[in-house]
Chain length 195, copies 2
Amino acid sequence: MPKIVDHDARRREIVEAVWALIARRGLDAVTMRELAAEAGYANGALSGYFRNKDEILQSAFQHAFDATNVRARRAIGEQRGLAALRLLCREIMPLDELRLLEARVVIAFWDRALHDARMAAVHEAVMTTWRAQMHGYLQEARLDGDVTTATPDDTVIDGLLAALMGFQINALFAPAATPERQEAVLDELLGALAP
Amino acid sequence: MPKIVDHDARRREIVEAVWALIARRGLDAVTMRELAAEAGYANGALSGYFRNKDEILQSAFQHAFDATNVRARRAIGEQRGLAALRLLCREIMPLDELRLLEARVVIAFWDRALHDARMAAVHEAVMTTWRAQMHGYLQEARLDGDVTTATPDDTVIDGLLAALMGFQINALFAPAATPERQEAVLDELLGALAP
């Protein structure tokens, strides 16, 4: 079914072209016409791929998630356990301009997902994926003797995911939430796993 | 200047009447006409107090912050140090229906504040207030011997605020982020302060 494949590929191309514009200006401020122009499409041609701006935002969120995971896989390589857990967390943290832009997409997405069950389900799928990955790394880390805490893995992961989501906010709104300070918090959280 | 005082009081009354409607339905979905009706005003009468929905949202955010602090003060009473720190954190956490509604206002506010410097400044002021309060409680807790960690207070507070902001997201989007699980994370974070 070459047509369907092409359609999905085209949607990805469009999102890759426009997500940063949405992040910088905000979904409300940009028009479908401007998004089409940014992607190099004639006005109106985007509607064949996305019914509205919310659908583009959902794809932009998925794009930020996929990009994070590609970077994390590359950074982790053959590493496992605690080292792999740390690298996954670092890729989710908004530590540079690119990831701060991704955080802006994520925040806009959250606002819409509050009132759209399908978008909320996309967010839950993302969290479920990261949660499963973290569980795997924690199990390895316990085998390696790098994690010795009596705290259940679920609580450890709840704490990590809360801090990682909170960083998306604090890095954008608190000038003091520098990469160094985010990393200091991560060091504390992971350090507490081997008391 | 009785007229000005009256104006501010009226704005507060309006926000108290409408903030939960905004939280439930979303700012985009409600009209100024509906907000006026909810507040018991004639259509158009709200514009004397708020220029637009974003101004109402900013006041709703301030309302959620003020309500949190009123509850925290009441809960803390004469307590100090670690006990007071725990109670402040618990009031910020979305542990019940009321605070989950407040979290919805906060998320909508974040989305707007990304593109509005004045709203972002309001958020920063809120964080600065909580940060100062936490610094005070941590100092007391160190004097009391309840906090003995070598981790600097700034890092402790960065970690607490990240987790507290993350809870606003996770409690709304992850069905597993129950009050019990949020409290387990808080116990871990505070427990790590006296290793």
